[in-house]
Every structure is written in C-alpha cells, then in structure tokens.
Symmetry: C2
Subunit: 275 residues, 2 copies
C-alpha cells in the first residue's frame, strides 16, 4: 500500500473539530469525503493531533494509505480543488509505509493569539481571543517559562476523562518551549496589539494549551504569581488551573516527525503510544 | 443636529456591498439597523464610497446626524456590541455639522491583493485574488506608473452606466499614487507570495480599480505593454481594458477629508461633486 503524508492548514471556525463525527462538519470528514471521490474508497486518515472544535491549524500533518495510482502532487491539486477554501493541503508526499502521523510525531507546536487592542479587525476575529483588559506581560512571560520541562499536567488537563487521556494514561508531558511574545506587527494592527503564546512539546493532554493560557491570564491579572505554577503542578487537580481559553485563539502550527529506522507494524505503533 | 463621523473596517465577503438594499445584507443596512436600536430613529448614513459586493474596507468613513445624547465613544462601543464581528467601528468622533463623508473626501486609497503562491492560506482566502500563473512584475510596475495624473478613465470604468457615473458625469479622474509592490511577509506566507497594487486618487469610477488591476495583469502576461496604457486612455472604450478583477482582492484602506472653511449646504455640496 502507498502511504501519503499531507500537511494541512485549516480555519476551524466552522468545523466541529478534526475528528470525524456523523452529521457534523469536521476536518477529517471533509478530507475523507474528498478522498473517497478521488479513490473510490474511504481511506482511514490519521491526524497528528485531534484539534477541538474551533481550533485552527497552519501545519497539521495526516497520512492515509491507498492503492490509487494518483501521484502525491496530484492528490494535493485534486484535494484543494474539492475542499472548501477553509481547508488547504499545503504539501503532499509519498512516505515510508510505516509512517504514522500520530505515533511518529516527536514534537508539536501550538500558538495562542491574544488580541490586546480595543477593536478586533474584521480580518482576524476568527483567529484571536480578544482580551483588552490590563495584563502584566512580564509576569506572564516569567510564568510561561515555568511550564518548561517534564511535569505531571493533570492540573492543566480536561477534568472530564477524555478518550485520549484514557488511552494515553500518563499525565506526564514534556514541554520544550513555552514563551509569550508581543508579536511583530501584522496587517492593520498597531504594534503591541497582539500577544502570542508559543508552546512546543512532545505531546499534549486535552485542553492543555488552553488551560495553560488561561492560567497565564490569571498571572497577568495578578490573581496568581509566576511562582505559583510549580504548586499548581503539585495539586494534580484540574479544577485549580485558570479557565480553559476559547478555541478560536488556538492554532496547531507545526508537527515534527521521526520515523523509526526499523519498520514497525500497527500493533507495535499502538503500544508505543503509552510511553 | 449633532454630526458623528465613523471610521469603519469590514469584511465584505458576506455582504451585497455598502449600499442599503431591501432584503440584502449590506454594510449600510447593518449600520442603520444598529443605529436605529440605539437612537430610535433611522438616520441616513453617508459613506465616503459605495464599495461593491465582496469588497472590503480597512478605513471606510461615514457620517450620520442625530439628536441622540449618546457620546461619540459610546456610539463606537454600542455599535461594536450590536454589529457582527465582520463590521467594526474603528473610531467615532463628533464633527462639524457641515461635514459630509462623501462630498468632503479629497482622496481615497485602495489596495488590491494578488496572491502568487500555489496554495492560498485559509486565513486569507477572503481577502486576496489568487493568481499563481507567471506575471512580469517589472512590466506591471512600469505600467502602474502610467495611471498617475489626470486622465479620462472611460476605458477603465464599468461599461454599463451606473448611477454614480450618471450623477458625476465627468470620466476625468486624478490619480496621485499608483504602484505595485511585493508586500512584506505576512503571517503564514512565504516572501513574495503576495503582490499588492496600491492606488490613491481624488475619486474613482465604478469598477475602475478592478479594471486597472485587470489591465496590469494583461501587461504582466505580456499581452499588453506598459506603453499601451496611454493608448487605452485615448480609446475611451470600456470594452478595451483588461478584465474586471474579482471583488475579494479589493480593500478601501483610507479616506482623507478636508472640510471647507465656509459651511456649505447640501445643494452646494452636490454641485461640488461634479468637478
């Protein structure tokens, strides 16, 4: 079987998230429908991460297996012709048969955009969380650094057990980068109007980034201090973090992969997922 | 009567243009409905320019008269609370009673965005025209300069007479700035992926900017030369320009005003419009 790797960007505003659900507009569903038109079968599409409803992607990665003779570049062109403009295939390549977008992801980077100005420009309202109230940037920047490293993120995960948590069991996660920046001026924006939180980690629990940002906002409001972050980890209580920030500010910007040298079957790949 | 000046930004994608039309979603209609809720009357709203269906604004200017005691900053806040996120009041100020957004506009600036990359990012598809085919940038840049100055723009106006043309009669227009630039890198775009045509003039005929850009594209394709622009002016034939480019690339970015020292009545202002 040929294995095709897709790099995807999407505007999640009008979708009920990545994961296919009957009767709901989803990214995986739209891709599956388009691939069915091209290949006359409904391939399983594996995404590197299952973004929630309203969350965007600038570099989601997915793969699917097919016997179709369509070339990888032709898959890109044909999918972009069939998909709505809110979902784009940025790249398409044939890849080793053992490659799995989810199990072989070694790092994912997310960005959370906070718009600080008084009025959100119409061109970006879908992509930012509007928070025009006072926030202490320096305190938030210091707190963001406290998320780096290997920690038990139970406090920063969805309090209701999700399928993902159940399967992956361990709440231990490794964060490589965690910083908040005043972003460079974008189109029709004054300098300083936007802050971005950038986080890169091996993998993430459900709602984890949005709860981390909600906690940083509490620090910015002076209701928590940067030094409180280690104590929050120790509590291991999902009700003690800041609020889960709204989805529209969140974007999956990059997924990095490393394919093991030895081909692994699906059974092996599955057991890999719990490490 | 108090006179309120509004500076507006909007995403024109889902609107049938500026001008109010029964049963159609329009910018002027949405503003009028919102103002009616706030003031209990339906004020006439004068826009500096009537943008066509699908055309955007980053700096449209409008004014309306009211006896309402609501302050100008409160009008901004209340309108932004009532309007959809695709229409934003960027600024609101009380202004001299004789100010008229249309008659006292001395210059308008439009931008036309052409996306040159292979795949349009989902975050900008509403705001660009996708043209990935080869174009000679230098020839287009040279041709753009030929639009500067005072010319008879009949060739670059809608071939069907519009209300605006009928009223304004003269097809003579003055262009102060006309240039095409490779725009600075925006979010999630490779350098050179976007070209922008920027034009600043005293006023414009209907479809004029979109027909000028369509003509520049013909130059970029080598089907016209920069030196053909003066000959096209001389033809005074609306069927001889390049195509009318699609609306979504166009944005009214700025309107400049000069209020006459002597208050003028509406009748005077009307006669001003035909010079």
């Amino acid at each position: 079987m040929r294995n095709i790797k897709l790099t995807l960007a999407y505007d999640g505003t009008d979708f009920s998230g990545w994961q296919i659900q009957p009767g709901q507009p989803t990214i995986q569903g739209a891709l599956t429908d388009a691939l069915e038109k091209l290949t006359q079968h409904r391939p399983a599409i594996y995404g590197a991460g299952r973004t929630d409803a309203g969350v965007h992607a600038a570099g989601q990665v997915a793969n699917f297996k097919t016997e179709s003779p369509i070339s990888a570049p032709d898959f890109q062109r044909a999918l972009n012709a069939l998909l709505p403009p809110s979902i784009r295939v940025l790249a398409s390549q044939e890849i080793a048969e053992n490659f799995h977008a989810r199990w072989h992801a070694v790092a994912k980077t997310y960005r959370y955009r906070i718009f600080r100005g008084d009025v959100v420009p119409p061109s970006i309202w879908r992509y930012v969380c509007h928070y025009p109230h006072p926030l202490d940037f320096d305190a938030m920047a210091e707190a963001a650094l406290r998320f780096k490293g290997e920690h038990d993120f139970t406090t920063f995960a969805a309090t209701t057990g999700s399928e993902e948590q159940d399967r992956e069991r361990s709440p231990i996660r490794i964060i490589y980068r965690s910083e908040i920046v005043r972003c460079a001026q974008r189109d029709s924006m004054a300098p300083g109007d936007e802050w971005e939180y950038i986080v890169r980690g091996k993998s993430f629990l459900r709602y984890m980034v949005r709860k981390m940002v909600g906690t940083l906002v509490e620090v910015g409001r002076g209701r928590l201090a940067p030094k409180d972050i280690p104590a929050l980890f120790a509590l291991r209580d999902g009700s003690k973090s800041g609020a889960t920030m709204p989805p529209q500010g969140l974007c999956m910007v990059e997924v990095e992969h490393q394919i093991p040298a030895e081909p692994v079957g699906h059974a092996d790949a599955f057991s890999n997922s719990s490490h």
